[in-house]
Subunit: 448 residues, 2 copies
C-alpha cells in the first residue's frame, strides 16, 4: 500500500519491520503489527490519507503516545497506524475566554507547563501525563486524580476539528460558554476511541490554577469505615480536589518499595483541598474531622510543599511498587456510584479469596473509580485464567451496582467482550458508527 | 389516523378543533395545527405509539409544557403531538449518590420543591421554571441565571431511557460519576429537540443546596466598563452563582412597571454569591470591589432574604415590564465568548440605530448569554421586517465573535434558516438524524 502515499516525505512513512514493531503495542497487553505507519503534519495531509484509506478500505488506527491501557491504539488487522505526534502545536492561548487551541499531538505535561505561565491549567491529570497526548485524552475521555472535583476531559472540550471517514474536515462545538444550537457533536467524538473521526484541532477550556493546597494522609484500621468516610466527605460540600484510596496490599508493596511505613493501617486515604487562599487548611481540617468520626488516624499532614511531595510519593509509587511485587499486573478501571464503594471493597476481598488471586486496590475513591490490580505471572497460564475469571465476575458485580466497566481508560480491545453487559444500546452505537464510517476503516475492532 | 390508537383511553386522545388549537402553539410566534394529540402514561405506550407512527409515516411532536421560545413543540405538517405531561412521576431520589430519577413530564418547580426536603437541588433554572417540564429542559439543554456557576441541563443528565424512532426502548448513560465506556449517547440526545428519540425516564445529578447567599445590585454609568467588570469578576476565581445584566432600555421599562428607581444608571449588574457559610459575604465584597474599580455605584446590597427578594424583583420584572412597553417582543438568545461582551453591547446599539428599532437587552452576562429583546408591534409589518433584518445581522456578528445562535432556547423553527452560518457540520447532524430516524417522523422540520 506504500504506493498510495508517495506525497508524504519519506521520513514520515515507516515500513521496516523494526519500525512497525514499535507500533504494534501500547501500554496494554495487546500486540499486533500494522502494515504501515504514517506521520502526517497537517489536517490537509490527514484528510488526504483518510480519503485514500477509505477508497482502498485500509484500516486506520490513530495514535498519540501509545499509552492506552485498553489496546485502543493497537491495530487489529494490519493497516495504517496514523501517528499524530508531529501535529503538536499549541496554536493559541486565549486567556480572556480561558481557552486553548492546539493540535492533537501536544503532550499533556507540556501543555500544563505552558499554561502555568498564564496562571491557568487543564485539570484532568492521567497517570501517563508526562508523555500522553491531548488527542489520546480526548479519544478516551481520560481523567485522573483531580476528576473528583474537576471532572473529566469531556468537561473541557469546547471545539473539535475532525477529519471524517470520507476525508471531509468539519468543525464542531463553540467558544461560547454554553450553547443550545444543534446536536452536541463534540460530545459524541469525545470518548469515541478513534472510531468516528480523526481530531486535527482541539479547543479546550482551561481554568485558573489554584494557589493554595492542603493535603493529608489518613489511615483507617477498617476499610468499610474508610468507605463511609469517603461518602460523607463527598456529601459535605467540601469539594476535595483529590480523594485517593490505597488498600493493605498496595500499602505493603509501597512500604517495601519506598521505605515508608504504615503500621496498623488497613486502608489509607489521601485528601487534598485546593483554592485561592489559606481557607483550604480550614476545609482540610473539616475533612479530617469527618475521617476521625470513623476512627481514622492522621498519618501525615502537609503544611509545606515538601510535605505534600512526600505524601504524593506514597500514592504515585503504588503502581511501580506493585510492578516489582509480581511480574504481571492486570490493572482494572471499574467505577461504581459512591454508595457502593464499601460493597466493592468487600466484593474484591471475596473474589480474591474465591479465585485464589492477589488483588491490590487503589484509586480515586471520591468519584468511585477504583483500580483493582490483579497480581499474576503471565507465564503461569492457570494463574492468569483464574484472574480473568475473577475480573469477569467483578464486571458483572460492578454493573449490578449501577457502575461502569471503565472510568477513564476506555474499552478498546481489553473489555469489548464485556461491553454488552453494561449497555443495551450497543446496536445504536453501531448504527452511529456505521453512519459516520460506512466502510469501517476507523480503528476497526474497538469498543464493540 | 384515530383508528390506529384505539388502545388508548378516550380521555387521553384529543381530536376536537378546540383541543387541537391549544396544541398549535408554544411560547414562540409559530402556529400550526396537529391532527391528533395523544397523552401516553407509560414508556410501553410511547413505544407502541411510535411504532405505529413510524409504520404509517405520521409526524410525532413530543411536548412538555409548551414553553419553547423557538417553536420546538409546534407541529410543522400536522401529525401527532405527544403530550408527555401525564408521565410525571418522581421515581426515586437516591440521596447517597445525589441522583434523582423521574419521568419527563415532571415540572421543574415541583422537582426542586421535592428535592429541597432533602437539602439538594437541580441547578439549571429557566425563566419558565414554574411550569416547564424536565423533558423539555433536556430536549433543549436549557439553563438560566445560575448557569454561570452551575452549567446547563447537559451537565446534570446522567442516564436516559429513550424510545427510538422504531419503537425500541433503550437506556444509556451511567449512575457512576464518570465513564469511558462506549459512546456518550446521553450527550447526543440532550439538546436534540425531540428529533432523535422520546425520553421516557431521566436520571439527573443533583447537588447540595447552598445555605448562604449574598446579593448586590451595582450600577454603571458606562456600559463598556460594566462589560469589563464582568470579565474581571469571571476571571477572578470568585465563581458568582449569578451575574446578570440589564441595559438602560430594560431599566426604563422596569422603572415604569415596578416603581423602582435607577437614576444615572446606564447598565445594572446583579451579582450573587452562594455557599455554605458566611464567607459568601466576603466574596461578594471582593466582587463589588472589582466593580468599583470600573466606577460602579452600589445600588442595593442584600443582607437579609427580604432585601434579596427586592433585588430579584428588579430582574424578574424585566420581561413583563418590556411586554407592557410594546405589543410584541422578539426575544433573542445569542451567546458570545465573554471577551466579546462589550463589543456585543456596542453592536446592538449600532444595529438599533441603523434599522430604527428599539432593543432592550438583559441576560446572563457571566456566561455571555444575552437576551436582546426587539420591541415591535406585530401588526406593523414594516417594523417587524426592520427588526428581522437587524436580527439577521446580529446573528452574523455573533458568529464572527465565535458565539452561538442560542445559549439556552434551542433552534426549533425560529432560527433554522440561520443554523448553517454557525455550523459547517450540518450534513453530519443530518446524517445522524437519518441514521436514528430514517423515516423522519420525530419532530420533523426542526433545527435544520
Amino acid at each position: 500500500m506504500l504506493q498510495f502515499f508517495d506525497f508524504m516525505d519519506e521520513d514520515r512513512v515507516l515500513s521496516t519491520p523494526e519500525e512497525l514493531l514499535s507500533y504494534s503495542s501500547d501500554a496494554s497487553r495487546h500486540r499486533s503489527l500494522p502494515n504501515l505507519v504514517l506521520m502526517p503534519y497537517s489536517k490537509e495531509e490527514v484528510s488526504r490519507i483518510v480519503k485514500i484509506a477509505n477508497r482502498e478500505r485500509i484500516p486506520l488506527v490513530p495514535r498519540g503516545a501509545g499509552t492506552s491501557l485498553s489496546g485502543g491504539s493497537v491495530p487489529v488487522d494490519g493497516g495504517i497506524v496514523l501517528d499524530l505526534t508531529l501535529m503538536d502545536s499549541i496554536i493559541k492561548v486565549d486567556l480572556e475566554n480561558q481557552l486553548v487551541t492546539l493540535e492533537p499531538g501536544v503532550v499533556y505535561g507540556r501543555l500544563n507547563r505552558e499554561l502555568e505561565k498564564y496562571g491557568v491549567f487543564f485539570p484532568p491529570d492521567p497517570g501517563s501525563g508526562s508523555v500522553c497526548t491531548i488527542g489520546g485524552m480526548v479519544a478516551t475521555n481520560s481523567s485522573g486524580l483531580r476528576a473528583v472535583k474537576y471532572g473529566t476531559t469531556r468537561d473541557y472540550v469546547k471545539k473539535l476539528e475532525v477529519v471524517l471517514a470520507d476525508g471531509e474536515i468539519i468543525r464542531c462545538g463553540t467558544k461560547a460558554v454554553k450553547s443550545s444550537s444543534g446536536y452536541d457533536l463534540p460530545g459524541i467524538f469525545v470518548g469515541s476511541e478513534g472510531t468516528l473521526g480523526i481530531f486535527t484541532e482541539i479547543t479546550l477550556r482551561v481554568i485558573k490554577k489554584p494557589t493554595n493546597y492542603a493535603t493529608s494522609m489518613v489511615g483507617f484500621s477498617d476499610g468499610f469505615k474508610a468507605g463511609k468516610a469517603v461518602r460523607e466527605i463527598m456529601y459535605s460540600g467540601l469539594q476535595p480536589a483529590v480523594l485517593e484510596i490505597m488498600d493493605k496490599n498496595t500499602l505493603q508493596a509501597v512500604e517495601k518499595y519506598t521505605g515508608l511505613n504504615f503500621p496498623d493501617v488497613e486502608v489509607l486515604l489521601i485528601v487534598e483541598l485546593d483554592g485561592f487562599d489559606e481557607k483550604v487548611t480550614l476545609y482540610l481540617r473539616e475533612a479530617i474531622e469527618i475521617c476521625q468520626k470513623y476512627n481514622a488516624n492522621i498519618v501525615e499532614e502537609a503544611i509545606s510543599n515538601a510535605d505534600r511531595e512526600s505524601i504524593w510519593k506514597a500514592r504515585k509509587s503504588a503502581l511501580p511498587a506493585l510492578a516489582r511485587y509480581k511480574p504481571t499486573l492486570i490493572l482494572e478501571d471499574v467505577t461504581v456510584p459512591i454508595s457502593f464503594l464499601p460493597s466493592l471493597f468487600k466484593e474484591l476481598e471475596v473474589l480474591g479469596k474465591k479465585h485464589g488471586v492477589e488483588i491490590a486496590t487503589f484509586g480515586h475513591a471520591g468519584d468511585g473509580n477504583l483500580h483493582p490490580t490483579f497480581l499474576v505471572d503471565r507465564n503461569k497460564r492457570e494463574e492468569v485464567e483464574r484472574a480473568e475469571k475473577a475480573i469477569g465476575e467483578l464486571f458483572h458485580k460492578v454493573i449490578k451496582m449501577g457502575g461502569t466497566l471503565s472510568g477513564e481508560h476506555g474499552i478498546g480491545l481489553e473489555k469489548k467482550r464485556y461491553i454488552s453487559i453494561e449497555h443495551n444500546s450497543i446496536s445504536l452505537m453501531k448504527q452511529i458508527k456505521k453512519s459516520l464510517d460506512p466502510n469501517g476503516i476507523l480503528n476497526p475492532g474497538k469498543i464493540f
